[in-house]
Amino acid sequence: MSRVNMALALILIACALSLINAQHHARKNFVELERLKKEARTLDEEWGQLRLEQSTWAGSARIETMARTQLGLITPSLDRIRMEGASPP
């Protein structure tokens, strides 16, 4: 009888310890999850900023100004454009 009791007491202690362990892990994971969520949010915001930056650099107006001033390109007037027929495949 007392052996059974001893065994049960040991099992009980083991369970209690593992519960504490599990709780601890759960909290650690939760903290990690929160950190990653925050990181995701930061990255998301950074992505938005980069998109904004990209569209600012790649804006048609800016490219056109650069093409005209730095590269000396011009838009051909319509009477200087000729359409060629695509050769049938």
Binding site: G59, D79, M83
Partner: protein, 588 residues
């Protein structure tokens, strides 16, 4: 073992001592018990509140406004977090060196910054907003007490003035004020969420105490605009307005197959990123909310009205030699012709011809055709404040009014409405509902306005407008067949037609064999000499249409010059180019 049985251990205590000690212990227990009872059941709310205040936190989860993009995902409006610098002036302690350093980071004069921080004000004061990310990091690194960075969302418009009228803008509270930002406010605005969490001693979140109310991020919105075409339209319109010393102008590009608005621009315009010099006149999206008298761009509808009732055929000859008097008004033509066919009336834009056609109709018939084409009704694009224009009531229509309406006076339309109505000619008689949002092709259900035969014959009449002898030779696009109609209307100023102020317009479509795009151009008060629709608005149309056709990669439908196809060998390309250039100064 029984202690009482051992004589040695037997104690003889006075009973009062037993009673005193026992009583004291009992009293102590009672006090502890009473205290426990008091704390546990009578004082719980207060204590639990205190405890929760330390460990529990209610957090709002911020939701930011959705992004607006063009049809290809190019961003047009983005909310992005920016840091702004705030100071609790009562708490800030600066050394002189720190102040100089801060001023240097912020790019302010040290004296000015000092003055700013000296303003004794309760609470917080905004020092600078917004900061660049770099500035924010450097200020945070200084760690001055009383200074704090605060994160706020700011909306940016990367396309700036190019798409300003369509996209609109938001106010400081992130509420849409104009344009799409206003029309789709509910969709774009996010709904902030909430969570209730337990925190440990270090402030880490440990677990959620209640189910999280997830923040609903604002929805993204893909507009129907195509930024390539939008930019081209905006640039060409601006160039034409400057070259013609005009007061303003507007341009609308519509996909005739789907009803999507690919580009819409007006001048004057504003920059939504910088609203310091806010001027309501510049913010008006004139192409949608303002109306004008269209002039001759109405004539195709007059022609369609008589064709669909079998009163004329495209070849019917109309005598246009004599001046025509309706009521007490004399109708005249800018360039008189003795007689014209119906096609030539459109090609050469004869007022007399148009009036003679319109007068064969009853007022009800004429107005019915105009109503079916959508005049006098909102075009239904969903844009806030859309104008419906004005068509006179058929019951009270006087003959002179019917006559002037035949060539587009005494009727008011918006540019968007005009472009929409031309969809009937482009789409073999069907008008597809307009949309500022990108659409899937299967969503489209059109509404029949004209029969396919009528639409096609009016379209081929309008094709002659850009041919030699038409009013808009300059609206030609190399390689494509173009159909369109010019309009030159005297401006109505204080109820009088001005003699020297005009509205020049051109509405056209291409490729004429199966039109894909409709471009409507309107130039308000060109003052540099030229004022005809064909010469002022026509070239803008041609440039924008050429760019749109090219960027969508539509195959040319005009017959190619035969010499190029039958050439057996390729000669030196440079010489050929020169020869072509001299031979074809202008394409026919």
């Amino acid at each position: 073992m029984n202690y009482h049985s051992k004589k040695l251990l037997k104690l003889h205590l006075a009973p009062w001592r037993m009673a005193t000690v026992g009583g004291l212990i009992m009293a102590g227990l009672a006090v502890v018990g009473g205290r426990a009872f008091y704390l546990q059941s009578l004082h719980t709310d207060y204590l639990q509140g205190k405890g929760n205040a330390v460990a529990n936190r209610n957090m709002t989860l911020p939701a930011h406004r959705g992004m607006v993009s063009d049809r290809n995902g190019e961003p047009l409006a983005i909310s992005t977090p920016v840091e702004s610098l705030w100071a609790r002036t009562a708490e800030t302690r600066f050394s002189e060196a720190e102040l100089t350093r801060l001023a240097d980071i912020l790019g302010m004069a040290p004296d000015k910054l000092k003055l700013r921080l000296q303003t004794r004000k309760k609470g917080e004061l905004s020092v600078q907003r917004p900061l660049t990310p770099d500035q924010a990091a450097r200020v945070a690194a200084m760690g001055v007490p009383g200074l704090s960075l605060r994160r706020e969302y700011r909306r940016y418009y990367p396309a700036a003035d190019v798409a300003a009228h369509v996209v609109g803008f938001t106010n400081v509270d992130d509420l849409g004020q104009e344009g799409v930002e206003r029309a789709y406010q509910d969709w774009l605005a996010g709904k902030s969420g909430e969570r209730h969490v337990l925190r440990d001693r270090r402030g880490n979140m440990i677990r959620d105490l209640e189910p999280v109310k997830i923040a609903q991020m604002g929805g993204n919105l893909a507009l129907s605009l195509d930024m390539r075409i939008q930019y081209l339209a905006h640039r060409e319109l601006a160039a034409a307005v400057t070259a013609n010393q005009a007061k303003g102008g507007g341009i609308v590009v519509i996909d005739a197959k789907t009803g999507e608005i690919l580009a819409l621009s007006n001048l004057p315009v504003f920059n939504p990123n910088n609203r310091r010099n806010y001027d309501p006149q510049r913010v008006r999206n004139r192409a949608v909310i303002d109306t004008f008298e269209p002039g001759s761009t109405m004539k195709p509808f007059t022609a369609a009205a008589v064709l669909e009732r079998g009163l004329f055929t495209p070849q019917s000859v109309i005598n246009t030699s004599d001046g025509l008097i309706v009521g007490n008004k004399r109708i005249r033509d800018e360039h008189p012709h003795p007689s014209l066919t119906v096609t030539e009336v459109i090609q050469k834009s004869s007022n007399i011809g148009a009036v003679k056609m319109a007068m064969t109709l009853t007022p009800e018939q004429f107005c019915d055709t105009l109503h079916r084409a959508g005049f006098g009704q909102k075009p239904g694009s969903g844009f806030p404040g859309e104008a419906s224009g004005h068509v006179r009531n058929a019951k009270t229509l006087k003959p002179v009014e019917q006559a002037t309406m035949a060539y587009g006076h005494g009727i008011s339309v918006s540019l968007l409405q005009l472009a929409r109505a031309y969809m009937a000619f482009a789409n073999d008689g069907e008008v597809v509902p307009l949309s500022f949002l990108r659409r899937e092709p299967q969503e489209v259900i059109g509404e029949r306005v004209f029969s396919p035969q009528v639409a096609r014959s009016v379209r081929s009449m309008m094709e002659t407008v850009t041919h030699e002898g038409g009013t808009a030779v300059r609206a030609q696009v190399p390689g494509y067949r173009v159909a369109g109609k010019t309009g030159t209307a005297h401006k109505l100023i204080d109820g009088q037609y001005s003699a020297d102020r005009y509205i020049a317009s051109f509405v056209g479509m291409a490729p004429a064999s199966d039109p894909r795009f409709i471009v409507a151009v309107m130039i308000d008060e060109p003052m540099a000499g030229a004022y005809f629709g064909g010469s002022v608005a026509g070239p803008v149309f041609a440039q924008v249409m050429a760019g749109a056709l090219r960027s969508f990669g539509l195959p040319p439908d005009a017959p190619l010059e035969p010499a190029r196809i039958t050439q057996p060998t390729l000669p030196n390309p440079i010489q050929t180019h020169k020869a072509e250039a001299t031979k074809n100064g202008r394409p026919a």
